[in-house]
Amino acid sequence: MSDAAAEIAELKILHPNAVLLKEGGNPVVYLPKFSFVANGKGETMDLLLHPSSHSGYVTRLFFERQIAGRGVHWKQHRLLERNWWVPSWKDVRPDQPWTAMLCEHLRAVA
């Protein structure tokens, strides 16, 4: 089990506005207005990294909205009192730094 405080500190280097929250007792990372490349073009939207098991996946990355043409089996979930979209993207291990976990999840929409 990673140290959440240390992990969020690392994520804040990447994205200073990252916020550590929790849902169901599990840490989740809110990344407001995170910029990334998806389907060959730049996107900016809120992301939510769930670095432990959720809805049958070992970790998940939730998106503010679906990305057209990328990701499969998009489903809507409610976390932290907002609706989020998440594609099917399996086996992003929980036992790695959250920065690496985030990058691996973003490959689902790259």
């Binding site: 929790k22 007792g25 098991s53 049958g56 996946y57 089996h73 409610r78 932290l80 009192e81």
Partner: protein, 304 residues
């Protein structure tokens, strides 16, 4: 004779209490439509009913209130529920959302109890978590038909009452990571699961009874948590062994410090209200308040 005379045993003031109550109905299929009908019969005054689907031919074997004409017209399940409720409660406060419940959360927040008749464990888990955030009791029903091979079929189901502060769907083993993983592997393609009207009726009726226990004083000790198992082959509804086994345990899955909206900010909330163009009534109220404060004094510099 007054309409609800036969249910006066529910307690003094129960008619008013039921009329004041608002019930959330998430899923208006076989189970949800039954519950909508029963709540209307018993006098519930407020409804928030959410379902994204329209009735199809294959629903007409069990969707209470739905007709063949509805199926031919692909009528929304929310419209069928509204029609049914209105027929018994002409003055009911009915809000229907022809969409997933995730798009009905503003309305569901106002409910006294949320009834879940949804498909899937992930949906149940989210809905229960939403209910816990708003300190709303959640009552879940579901049924399944199991193919036992040469032994035939087994109809089973559950009714679970999950009240804030008490045990939850995970505590009693209905929702597990294994089930979620198996469900995720199907990518939402649940297929045509067997469904028939009478088990839905048993589950819905039991759930409505438990909801009424939470709203009216007729039962001296209604349960804050219960897990009832339905055996459709023997025709029994009995308390699950989980209930006794879990006595005294505290639910670890819904920490009490997770109520409310983590992003709520009163400053933004007030700004949103105050930046709206004021109605004539609101301007008059502000003027009156300013006059009052001018005479009697106030710390406040703004009007709510």
């Amino acid at each position: 004779m007054i309409r609800f005379d036969r249910q006066s045993f529910l307690g003094s003031g129960s008619e008013a209490r039921l009329d004041e109550a608002t019930i959330g109905l998430v899923g208006l299929g076989g189970g949800g439509s039954h519950m909508a009908q029963q709540f209307a019969h018993i006098g519930i005054g407020g409804y928030v009913a959410a379902d994204p689907d329209a009735i199809e031919d294959t629903n007409t074997n069990r969707l209470v209130g739905g007709t063949l004409r509805d199926a031919a017209a692909a009528r929304a399940k929310t419209k069928i529920a509204r029609r049914m409720i209105r027929g018994l409660q002409p003055h009911a406060r009915i809000v229907t959302v022809c969409d997933t419940w995730q798009h009905a959360t503003e309305q569901l927040k106002t409910c006294d109890i949320i009834m879940g008749a949804v498909d899937g464990f992930a949906e149940r888990e989210q809905l229960e978590r939403f209910a816990r955030r708003y300190l709303i009791p959640y009552i879940d029903i579901g049924m399944d038909v199991h193919d036992l091979g040469k032994d035939g079929f087994l109809i089973s189901g559950q009714i679970i009452v999950s009240t804030p502060g008490s045990l939850c769907l995970r505590c009693c083993g209905l929702i597990t990571d294994e089930r979620l993983k198996e469900e995720a592997g199907k990518y939402g393609a649940a297929g045509s699961r067997p469904q028939v009207v009478w088990p839905n009726g048993v589950l819905a009726s039991t759930a409505v009874g438990l909801a009424v226990q939470l709203l009216t004083p007729w039962h001296p000790h209604p349960p804050a948590f219960t897990f009832l198992e339905y055996d459709g082959n023997s025709g029994t509804v009995s308390v699950s062994a989980h209930v006794e086994a879990l006595k005294g345990r505290i639910c670890p899955h819904h920490p009490p410090d997770e109520t409310g909206d983590p992003f709520f900010d009163i400053r933004k909330h007030l700004e949103g209200i105050e930046q709206r163009p004021a109605s004539l009534w609101r301007r008059a109220l502000r003027a009156a308040k300013a006059w009052f404060d001018g005479i009697f004094g106030s710390r406040s510099t703004q009007t709510v």
